[in-house]
């Protein structure tokens, strides 16, 4: 990603880039259509489970076409922020770590690891601060979820 001053104008030269919003919408509608193809549509009077999905999918295809046309005609530059890759990766990792640990290991390890992983999303985190912060948040989480709210979750292991 060649970024200058953190901002990058989407230039008009990359046509495919401009058409992508609408194209993704159309792809999504086609996916709806394909999945719901075998649901019976019934008649207008007696709609089956497939009727509305089809209507919505066709409407979305129209919308997608409209958006492609509008985006291609739109010459004003839109400034997109650079992707926040670091945050994206570590926040995702935090959620996945939580998912991986909550059932086998229990709430406390899952909380600690998830907080530690999400802390890495910001550059400003030394190892020590991560440990201290995660421990503090885990303790607060324990007090909130288990002691105060009494959620039926396993604290440690199974």
């Amino acid at each position: 990603m060649e970024t200058l001053e953190g901002e990058k104008p989407e230039t008009g030269r990359k046509t495919w880039r401009q058409a992508i919003s609408g194209a993704v919408l159309i792809a999504f509608s086609v996916a709806i259509l394909v999945t719901s193809w075998n649901y019976s549509t019934g008649s207008l009077q007696q709609m089956g489970p497939g009727y509305m999905p089809h209507v919505i999918a066709y409407a979305l295809i129209l919308m997608g076409l409209g958006i492609i046309v509008a985006d291609l005609r739109d010459t004003s530059p839109h400034y997109a922020e650079p992707m926040h890759w670091r945050a994206l990766i570590f926040v995702s990792a935090a959620v996945l770590v939580f998912v991986a640990l909550i059932e086998p290991a229990g709430l406390v390890p899952a909380m600690f690891c998830a907080v530690a992983a999400s802390k890495l999303a910001n550059k400003r985190s030394s190892l020590l601060s991560i440990v201290i912060y995660s421990a503090a948040v885990t303790l607060a989480g324990y007090l909130l979820f288990i002691v105060a709210l009494g959620l039926p979750l396993t604290v440690f292991g199974r």
């Binding site: 509305m52 670091r86 994206l88 999400s118 400003r124 959620l151």
Partner: protein
């Protein structure tokens, strides 16, 4: 009406319910002040918790967060020139200059007072409108509901800030997501890819992903600490009698505008505050003073957005049709608690209905009381950097979603929606219509199907029944108006381009 309101008060003043009301507005105030956490995120975070409360307390808690955040949002606007909530954008315009001229304490006090008066007027409107609206709504059949829901979706898309095409397509995506699970009429499973989806996509996952996680991804790298450069002084913070008298009319106008726009589908507190600011500027005899700390420009929008925050509950509570994403979450909380929102709510659950309305009254008094004396706390909260905050929010999201249905799939789905929400925003798609479509979609489908069944697939029923015809007319007017204004602005842009081109060629 008075009797019912007193019944509501008796519900709210039970110590436990009062505690939730207090907790709700306090949290709302905190959320309004904190950077990067909006009312939608906070309400979706607390949705799973409400599963453990009774329905009345749940709605009182969630509603408190919403209107409490309107008070808190103004504090960040005045002290940092950064709007804490979308509806306090215009508060910056007058509040920050006033604070810079050394009257920050005064600005905060006068904002809190205007908010309070605006809210109270909004509450009165809610109390007055509730019974007639619910009685009127009982006349609604399937065709009326179909049109009402459709109008709500169209209005929310047309009035959105960005591209209307994009907003409407997001509403459609929301409807599509709402179809996952078993079909209400036939029971057939639709789009059920894994067993965990058999009950449909969880509203909690969708809201926390689209609004919670995506915001965190966008802001987590930000390591700036927000520090107010304003010296907060409490010297002469009390307005003089003349100043108070001069503010009666603007606050009254603001509250009126707010009450109106709050109750309409598609418009909410943010639009109400903009409208009110623009209106004040137009009627003012001294429009040149605006933007330099002019009091009517500060007070009217604040009264307006708070009144709107209250009256937006009218369609939600009396019709069961939410007007915006926040209200969609409130409806979601009712449904999660096994209560069917709609015009029968006022008859079947009078304690819930009036308890919630009375809680607005009590909650606003609490807000006024905690607002100014605790200003030291709010200022300290204001300067919490986001990087200290977001890991805890990630945790709240994970535990909240998981505890809701003990489902790991829900947590993974939340992440998926978070990533989708992040990418969507990059391509200028707003997530709010998705949530609205998600909640309104099943209502739309059910009522549309029932209409077609009852009236033999005849579309003329929508215009032959008077109420439904009025709704169709409103939708057509709105559509026509939007197309016209788009056409005019397009013409203007073309003209400007031509003139520019001409001057270049010379």
């Amino acid at each position: 009406m008075i009797d019912q309101f007193l019944l509501g008060l008796s519900v709210v003043l039970q110590p436990e319910v009062l505690m939730y009301a207090f907790f709700g507005v306090f949290l709302g105030q905190v959320i309004g002040v904190l950077p990067g956490v909006g009312a939608i995120t906070a309400i979706s975070l607390l949705l799973p918790v409400t599963f453990y409360l009774d329905p009345t307390s749940s709605v009182i808690l969630l509603a408190g967060i919403y209107y409490g955040s309107q008070y808190g949002g103004a504090i960040a606007s005045i002290l940092l020139n950064l709007p804490g909530t979308p509806s306090s954008v215009v508060t910056c315009l007058e509040g920050y200059p006033l604070a810079r001229s050394g009257r920050a304490g005064f600005a905060l006090l006068i904002t809190a007072l205007s908010s309070f008066v605006g809210s109270m007027i909004g509450v009165v409107v809610v109390v007055l409108a509730a019974i007639p609206m619910a009685a009127f709504a009982l006349k609604f059949g399937a065709p009326e509901y179909t049109m009402l829901v459709a109008l709500g979706l169209v209005a929310a898309s047309l009035i959105s800030s960005g591209s209307q095409l994009r907003a409407f397509s997001m509403a459609l995506v929301g409807i599509a997501l709402g179809m996952v699970g078993s079909d209400a009429s036939t029971g057939q499973y639709r789009f059920v890819a894994t067993d965990a989806l058999a009950d449909g996509i969880s509203l909690v996952s969708l809201a926390m992903g689209l609004f919670g996680l995506s915001e965190i991804i966008r802001n987590a790298a930000n390591s700036e600490a927000r520090k107010s450069k304003i010296q907060l002084s409490f010297k002469d913070i009390f307005p003089s009698k003349a100043e108070l008298r001069s503010l009666v009319a603007p606050v009254g106008r603001g509250a009126t505008i707010g009450s109106f726009f709050g109750a309409l589908p598609g418009t909410g507190a943010a639009i109400a505050s903009f409208m009110s600011y623009a209106f004040e500027r137009r009627v003012s005899r001294t429009p040149e003073k605006f933007g330099k700390g002019h009091l009517p420009g500060l007070c009217a929008p604040e009264a307006s957005n708070n009144a709107a925050a209250q009256t937006s509950f009218i369609p939600t509570l009396t019709l069961g049709v939410p007007g915006d994403a926040v209200m969609a979450l409130i409806i979601g909380a009712l449904i999660l608690n096994g209560i069917i929102p709609g015009p029968r709510l006022i008859v079947d659950e009078p304690e819930l209905f009036w308890g919630v309305i009375a809680s607005f009254f009590v909650g606003n008094i609490i807000l006024l009381i905690i607002n100014i004396p605790l200003i030291g706390i709010w200022v300290r909260l204001l300067s919490i950097p986001y990087y200290r905050l977001y890991p805890a929010i990630v945790l709240l999201i994970c535990v909240g979603v998981y505890s809701h249905r003990s489902s790991v799939t829900d947590v993974v789905l939340t992440l998926v929606f978070g990533l989708i929400g992040y990418i969507m925003k990059r391509y200028r798609f707003e997530p709010a219509p998705v949530l609205l479509g998600f909640v309104l979609g099943p209502m739309l489908e059910e009522n549309f199907r029932r209409t077609m069944l009852l009236y033999g697939g005849d579309f003329s029923v929508f215009v032959s029944r008077p109420i439904s015809a009025v709704l169709v007319g409103c939708g057509a007017l709105l559509l026509g108006f939007t197309l016209l204004s788009a056409f005019i602005s397009h013409r203007r842009a073309l003209k400007a381009k031509h003139q520019q081109g001409g001057s270049y060629s010379v």
